[in-house]
């Protein structure tokens, strides 16, 4: 295999680790972060004898290589599984990515691109991983800085029950299959291997700790609601109050997904190529098959298109069964009923005669209903902005019908500013409900 540099190795592996963290769907706490970093440090100590052996030019026996291939395939499968699970929540593409076909399409496309990158060779994958990791770190930094605003140190004790030190330790080993990739790629590293190992584990430790702590600080108060805490924290880390920029996180998700998978495919192909000489041809065939698969399930991925053919919700009132909507570009106020707010929204779309976009909702007026469930649905499925305000009324329909929504929002903001009303953005309200 062609030689790669220490930063390139670190970039390839850290991308995989961070992607695994992004797809993690369990609770996180400060204890988890400590456990995770301790686990990484422990792994560093454990690999030192291997690194020294590699420095002396010792090669791996064939049986170990076979084991590593199995490990890489499993780890690749785990990453692909993570991608499959998280594909829904990252809503790619925005409108029709949900459900089985959407997930299959996303996963197949990522797999196809990964195979193409792997096909280009180790050097290409290593070089592009370095650039992807650099871009990813810029995105992460943006996310971390954006996370300062919604961060709350009170979330650290609030999230303590959701993760233990041992959970973190387990996460570092089970969620860190890159250790296998590290062992497999170590002989290909140029220069001193110990330098490569130190750089990788240092980067992994720092970035993992930063990501987990941001997730805890941002989503600790609503950890119960967060299926994927890292993704949720990215979605709630909004630098601007009036819009959601978390779709940008999608870029990071997709790019990291591609490279995480690429590294496993490429390394497994390299090792398998040493064991089974005809593996190269199989790899190309697999790439073509997956590409065809992605093309074959093309259905349902095109948008309904025109930005002007949608109605943008400004204010919503609900009692859990019906919704009353007022819009930005439409004078009409629409009320629709259903079994829950999702079916009520679907009924409202029929009445409106066009798709209804809920991402710009600025005010939610809750009636008598299971408020926590409704707000959770609105945050996760409706993708409302984290700055969206929540108020209670016994009769939300008449409030919306009789009051100008902009006046209502203005009054509420002013009351919060003067301290006459509590902070009422959806994340704070949900956090308070969980307490």
């Amino acid at each position: 295999m062609n030689s790669i540099t220490s930063p390139q190795l670190a970039a390839m592996l850290v991308i995989s680790d961070l992607f695994a963290l992004v797809c993690y769907n369990g609770g996180l706490s400060a204890y988890t972060a400590v456990g995770l970093v301790s686990g990484i440090a422990l792994q560093y100590v454990m690999v030192i004898p291997l690194v020294k052996a590699a420095d002396k030019g010792k090669t791996l026996p064939k049986a170990v290589k076979l084991l590593l291939v199995s490990g890489l395939v499993l780890w690749g499968g785990a990453l692909l599984g993570g991608l499959w699970k998280a594909a829904d929540i990252t809503f790619v593409p925005y409108e029709n990515a949900g459900g089985f076909p959407g997930k299959l399409e996303i996963t197949a496309m990522v797999a196809a691109v990964s195979l193409y990158v792997a096909y280009e060779g180790t050097k290409a994958a290593a070089r592009s991983s370095l650039i992807a990791a650099f871009t990813g770190v810029i995105f992460l930094l943006t996310d971390l800085i954006s996370g300062i605003r919604p961060s709350n140190f009170g979330n650290i004790p609030a999230a303590a029950q959701y993760g233990t030190f041992m959970d973190g330790l387990r996460l570092s080993f089970l969620g860190g299959g890159s250790l296998i990739t590290f062992i497999a790629l170590l002989p290909c590293v140029k220069g001193r291997k110990i330098k490569a190992a130190s750089l990788y584990f240092l980067c992994r430790g720092i970035l993992s700790a930063a990501v987990v702590m941001t997730a805890v600080l941002v989503t600790g108060g609503i950890m119960d609601t967060a299926d994927f805490p890292v993704i949720m924290s990215a979605q709630l880390s909004q630098p601007f109050s009036s819009q959601r920029i978390d779709a940008l996180f999608l870029i990071l998700f997709a790019v990291f997904g591609v490279f995480a998978l690429t590294v496993q495919v490429m390394t497994a192909a390299f090792l398998a190529g040493e064991i089974f000489s005809r593996f190269r041809r199989w790899r190309c065939t697999a790439a073509i098959a997956l590409t065809l698969l992605a093309m074959g399930i093309f259905t349902g991925c095109t948008s309904t298109g025109q930005v002007s053919d949608k109605s943008y919700v400004r204010c919503v009132g609900t009692d859990g069964k019906s919704v009353t909507l007022s819009f930005f570009s439409d004078e009409r106020i629409i009320t629709a009923d259903g079994e829950d707010i999702s079916s009520a929204l679907a009924a409202a779309e029929i009445k409106a005669g066009r798709p209804v976009v809920t991402g710009f909702t600025e005010l939610i007026i809750l009636g008598n209903c299971n408020r926590k469930a409704v707000l959770e649905d609105m945050l996760k499925k409706w993708k409302v902005s984290p700055s969206c305000m929540v108020m209670y009324s016994g009769d939300p329909v008449s409030v919306i019908n009789n009051t100008d929504p902009s006046l209502l929002e203005g009054s509420l903001k002013e009351a919060v500013r003067q301290g006459k009303a509590p902070v009422c953005d959806i994340v704070t309200v949900l956090g308070n409900m969980q307490k």
Binding site: I131, S242, L250, S308, F360
Partner: protein, 478 residues
Amino acid sequence: MHGLETSLEKSIDTIKRISGGSSDVLINRFVTGGISCALICCEGMVSASVITELIFEPVTDIPQKKDAPELFHYISEELLLSTDRPRVRDYTALFRLIHSGFAVLIAEGMDCGLGFGVQGYASRGVQEPSGEGNIMGAHEGFTETVRTNMSQLRRRLKSPELVMEMMIKGSKSNTDICLCYMKDRVPSELMARIRRSLDRADLEAVLTTGYLRPFTEERRYRIFNTTGTTERPDVLCSKLIEGRAAILVDGIPYAIVIPRLFCENFQTLDDYAYKPYYAVFIRWLKYSAFLLAVLLPAVYTAIVMYHPELLNSTLLMILVDAEKEAPLSILTEALFVLLMYEIIREAGVRLPKPTGGAVSIISGLIIGDAAVKSGLVSTPLLTVTALAVLGGLVVPDIAPQITVLRFLFLLAGGIFGLFGISLLSCAVLANVCASENYGFPYTAPFSPFIASGMADTAVREDIEKLQSRGFTVEEYHE
């Protein structure tokens, strides 16, 4: 082809036969020193005044000679009629010389000829380069004559380390090509590999740089060229000093530079004429312009179609109002506008200059204005497209790649949103990172990351520091 005959008549007959009686092959018979001779030249390739003053007048004054070898010895060693006096032993060499502007003297009793460099064909003078604008540097560009171009290099690099190796390529065109390099800067192994690549070039003719470039690049499909071109001698000199090799081709006012790196597309000679802070500003402006040129229409389309929540509500409402009148989807609109631009650009390039002006008026005033007024295209989309196109013009060296990538990203963004753009970015990144030329990674010094390389890529350090580093491209070799 066989060698010249000792019989003058037979030689002349053979020349006539090989040339097929071509009317531009001139055979001037005369007797000098008591020996029958003929001067063969090609009409239009030699200077009539030079041939009369420097060849005919001295040659006709030659005293009686014993035989033809003595006559040739006298002409070659004592008369010194021209600086370049190659001996011609066969008809291939004879025809190559006369087609290159030489006059060849043959004589009764001699089985070789004597060439005189009396080139006088019409050629374009040294002019300002049309494609590589420069404010503070020299205003001289390469011409179509390879020897003029070689002299331009030599004027700027008066060093014995600069080597220029002439060779001939093209079985029909017999084109002179010149391999240039600084022998103290380029590893001999690299030069050997380049020569081997050129030896592989089995061509009938070399009419543009594109005929030779594929032989000096890797064969697998790559988006970007790993060899570059320049029409500026000063730029080429800077590349040679950095340890690159170059190929000059007769008849083409461009030099091929080997290897080419991605970062070089964003460097101009003017960068070194300005203060470093301004040069850095301009360089980053170019990086941003490149990204805008490739991604802006795609990102705009993806955001408006799939991720409107990225916009704030005020901006969104402006877009909603603008798009209300448009009958086509945003993706179709964007494709339409970009295709229109490409058609207009191509028409402007190919048409004669007076008509080209009319094309600009028609496209700018009539099509552009009418498309917006009729509601066929929305104003925000037109603005976005215009910005992207302008961005592409900032980096003209990679304009073809930008054009194609812009369309691909637009389709990816229009069909799959930001997800599609991300995936295509990964594929393109892998393709770019896989590009190499003779072991030089195209993406160096960004990846593989070479910190010292940042001095003239991410920033532009002081000239004194840059020059004292003694940088050669060999530092990037993997």
